[in-house]
């Protein structure tokens, strides 16, 4: 301890004394020193995780406010608040208290809208963050487990949203619960039991709102919070990924330290996000529950849709034919199985399973078990980008189908035609998206290759003494060239025999997938190719220094 030495640090300022007092008791300085020196690379697409985190904080704050006034009870009462069109209407305490929050509690409507808008942006930010991680290959070793945590957070965001917008007990939220009930009941054998268990008897019963409430305000936020901690902990352990660039390797991170740069940037960004959310909440209506009226199982109003993050499930059911080409309600041993509800859920589950398993799938096909800290530009992984585009397209077709009725009214087309076209798109659009995206990626790679080898076209045309016309190409700056040539060159890995000299069926499948993924590829420019190209273009005064060999791997 410092008492045994001659020297004890004496702080000069008041703040310093307080800091020193705390530090000598709990020893914060090594932690601050370590964490303050963490380096984060700069790229706009790296900030969506932050947006998700900040909107989650806003959700916690605004949700706490709402919980103080919301009454999660399905007891019937007569509304006596200040919203005239609902006065004297019989409704549940949950709906009445939501109306009170909206019309009779100071700032209540603002906070309700802040909460709901933040939920939409939270789900959107999580999705965009996941797409960024996927398309840049940031999920590769060592980050596979963090990808799984991310998938878990994405699913929890959806559940959090659904349990949240089901709480006000208006017609729209009741419709959503009714569909959830229908999907539960569609599960063979256990479906009816599950539904009875969740709703405490027949739908809607008197238990579902209190149950959803405790799931929404306690269970889900707690699990999300826990997963966020794990997620961020792993980010610190793995360090942040970075895009290729000069000086950036698999063994370093080039960027700015947390203290002071990122602490300020991230802290400021929180207030920016809060400001954007507050602006939206203060100016724009969301979920006008006063229009929908108290829940009544009989009506389903025109334009009933779930919030956007649930939309794809709604769309999947809308796309499913009712009786064509045969009746989809099948009966086995006296048990009826509504395939028209069950079947659309199967591709959705396959989509999510593929998403969760993708890091392992890709590793299996490419046989690439190396650590990756340098990100892929999406064009440099055409197979992955194309698969991702196909998945996004499939999801989007379902999401669009959920708003088929609004497309019909707003574009003056027939609702039936919209659904017919989307049914075709459900099967064809992902395939088209795969082919088109892959071709675009390969063309962009060829363009990059062209620029690396021959420089940029300047548009200046010169006539040589012997009469030939050439266009002057401007050689590429070495720093920019680095970005264009630094990417892993995956090649077809044909099936290989195992220890017993046999090629197994799985290995054959892997070989086929590998050929499908990497048969068409554009290789990164090699130093030799660059050398040859420069020789060829000597007339255009390309400067090729010896350092090229290091820059171009």
């Amino acid at each position: 301890m410092s008492t045994s030495t001659d020297y004890e640090y004496k702080a000069q300022t008041g703040t310093g004394r307080i800091a020193n007092f705390v530090d000598t008791r709990v020893g914060m300085s090594p932690i601050v020193k370590e964490f303050g020196r963490k380096i984060f690379p700069d790229h706009w697409s790296f900030m969506f995780g932050e947006v998700a985190l900040y909107t989650f904080v806003i959700l916690l704050l605004s949700g706490t406010f709402l919980a103080l006034w919301f009454d999660p009870s399905m007891a019937a009462l007569e509304y006596e608040g200040s919203y005239v069109p609902m006065q004297g209407v019989e409704m549940s305490a949950a709906y009445a208290s939501t109306l009170d929050i909206s019309f009779d509690i100071r700032g209540g409507l603002f906070l309700r809208q802040l909460h709901h808008w933040s939920a939409l942006v939270f789900a959107a930010a999580v999705s965009v963050h996941m797409l960024r991680v996927f398309f840049t290959g940031a999920f590769r070793r060592p980050r596979e487990l963090n990808w799984l945590v991310g998938v878990g957070l994405f699913l929890l965001a959806i559940v959090a949203g659904f349990t949240g917008y089901s709480l006000p007990d208006d017609v729209l939220s009741g419709n959503g619960l009714r569909i959830a009930d229908a999907i539960l009941k569609a599960i063979p054998i256990v479906g009816a039991y599950l539904s009875m268990f969740l709703f405490g008897g027949e739908f809607p019963g008197h238990d579902i709102i209190p149950r959803l409430y405790i799931i929404h305000v306690l269970l889900i936020p707690a699990v999300i919070l826990m997963l966020i901690v794990v997620h961020l902990f792993m980010v610190v352990v793995h360090k942040h990924t970075q895009f290729p660039g000069p000086g950036r390797t698999e063994n370093n991170v080039v960027g700015f330290p947390v203290g002071p740069v990122y602490a300020a940037k991230a802290g400021g960004f929180f207030f920016i996000v809060f400001g954007i959310m507050a602006l939206m909440a203060g100016t724009t209506t969301i979920n006008a529950i006063w229009n929908y009226g108290p829940y009544d199982p009989s009506p389903v109003q025109a334009g009933s849709q779930p919030d956007w993050y649930m939309g794809f499930t709604d769309g999947a059911v809308r796309l499913m034919p009712g009786t064509w080409p045969w009746n989809w309600e099948w009966t086995f041993w006296g048990m009826s199985i509504p395939m028209n509800v069950l079947l659309p859920m199967v591709p959705i589950m396959v989509l999510f399973a593929l998403m969760a398993a993708w890091p392992w799938l890709e590793r299996w096909v490419t046989k690439d078990n190396r650590e990756h800290h340098i990100l892929d530009r999406p064009r440099n992984a055409p197979f992955r980008t194309a698969m991702g585009a196909a998945g996004v397209t499939f999801y989007t077709v379902m999401l669009v189908a959920a708003s088929g009725d609004l497309i019909a009214t707003h574009f003056h087309v027939s609702l039936n035609d919209v659904i017919y076209w989307l049914r075709a798109a459900y099967f064809l659009a992902p395939i088209l998206a795969f082919i088109i995206t892959r071709r675009i990626c390969l063309s962009l790679q060829r363009k990059d290759r062209e620029i690396v080898l021959h420089g940029r076209e300047t548009g200046r045309v010169q006539q040589l003494p012997h009469g030939e016309f050439i266009e002057v190409h401007e050689p590429l700056d070495e720093y920019k060239r680095y970005r264009l040539v630094d990417f892993p060159d995956y090649q077809v890995q044909p099936p290989q025999p195992n220890g017993k000299g046999r090629i197994t069926g799985t290995e054959k499948l892997r070989g086929r997938l590998s050929r499908w993924f990497f048969e068409d590829r554009v290789a990164p420019v090699t130093p030799a190719e660059l050398e040859a190209a420069h020789h060829h273009h000597e007339a255009e005064a390309v400067t090729a220094g010896p350092q090229d060999r290091e820059l171009v791997r």
Binding site: D42, H43, W44, F46, F48, V51, V84, P85, M86, Q87, V89, S102, F103, L109, Q113, W117, L120, V121, A124, V128, V171, L172, F256, V261, G268, F269, I272, V273, I276, G282, T283, T284, T285, N287, A288, W290, Y292, G293, P299, V300, Q301, A302, G303, S304, Q305, P306, D307, W308, G311, A402, S403, D405, L406, A408, T409, V413, S414, L415, N416, D417
Partner: protein, 263 residues
């Protein structure tokens, strides 16, 4: 009386009973339905109105509805549709129809008020039907918005959307937006069931309740949206679009700005 009871096992007794029962229910139904019409048929049209109306009808409507208004393969019979139907269809510009389609669209009105009245007067002479509503059932000052909301949400919102913003029907048909529709046209639409709309007669929704519905719609129309921009009152789809377009664009703008200023 004794003679009647002795005949009760006669083979034709069942038939007689059946005829009596049918007469009774039919008679009751006729009484029930005519009470609506009797109440409606109050506004009177002069002989000159009817005469002018017939001229307008022959010039503008008879191609499809027939010279005597009894209908042709291109247009339905107008016998018994009443003045209310004409006032609605012609008064909102839906008739004369611009072109064949899934349903007649609202467009600029083709006739002036007097001509609409004359046409209505003529069509009313073709057969008894609902007349244009009386002023007292259109006065929103008398209506009850809360009851109107109840009736509207139970009967109308399925097609017209909870906020009256309209919605899609099958095969290109649709329920139009109810915003900025005249009171009497809302009333007449409920009463006559134009296009694909069902008829809500006075036994189903009483004239007072119709007035409440109109009051609720006018409340929605005139009261400022409590939460700010209503985004067309279309619900979660427009909210999702708003987040993914404007919301995300603003956020991306800030992320680009923050990361472009490298310390």
């Amino acid at each position: 009386m004794k003679a009647l009871s002795q005949q009760r096992r006669h083979p034709l007794a069942v038939l007689v009973l059946m005829v009596l029962a049918l007469l009774l229910t039919g008679g009751l139904y006729a009484v029930a339905t005519t009470t609506n019409e009797a109440k409606a048929q109050t506004q009177t049209y002069t002989a000159q109105d009817v005469e002018e109306g017939q001229k307008l009808f022959l010039a503008n409507c008879s191609t499809c509805h027939g010279m005597d208004g009894a209908g042709t393969p291109s247009g339905p019979s107008l016998v018994g549709v009443g003045a209310a139907a004409v006032d609605f269809q012609v008064g909102t510009g839906r008739m004369p129809m611009q072109m064949n389609g899934p349903q007649a669209e609202k467009k600029p009105v083709q006739f002036d008020d007097e001509q609409v009245q004359q046409l209505a007067g003529y069509v009313a002479t073709l057969g008894a039907g609902p007349n244009v509503p009386e002023q007292e059932y259109l006065d929103v000052a008398e209506g009850n918005a809360a009851n109107g909301a109840k009736v509207f949400l139970a009967n109308c919102a399925m097609c017209h959307n909870a906020a009256g913003a309209g919605g899609a029907l099958t095969r290109g048909k649709y329920a139009p937006s109810l915003m900025e529709v005249e009171e009497k046209h809302i009333y007449e639409a409920m009463q006559t069931g134009p296009q694909n709309m069902p008829v809500f007669n006075d036994a189903n929704i009483t004239p007072e309740e119709k007035r409440d519905v109109i009051t609720y719609l006018k409340t929605l129309e005139t009261a400022p949206s409590p939460g700010g921009f209503a985004l067309g009152s279309l619900g979660p789809v427009s909210e999702g679009l708003f987040v993914w377009s404007i919301g995300l664009a603003v956020i991306i703008g800030f992320t680009v700005w923050l990361t472009s200023r490298s310390a």
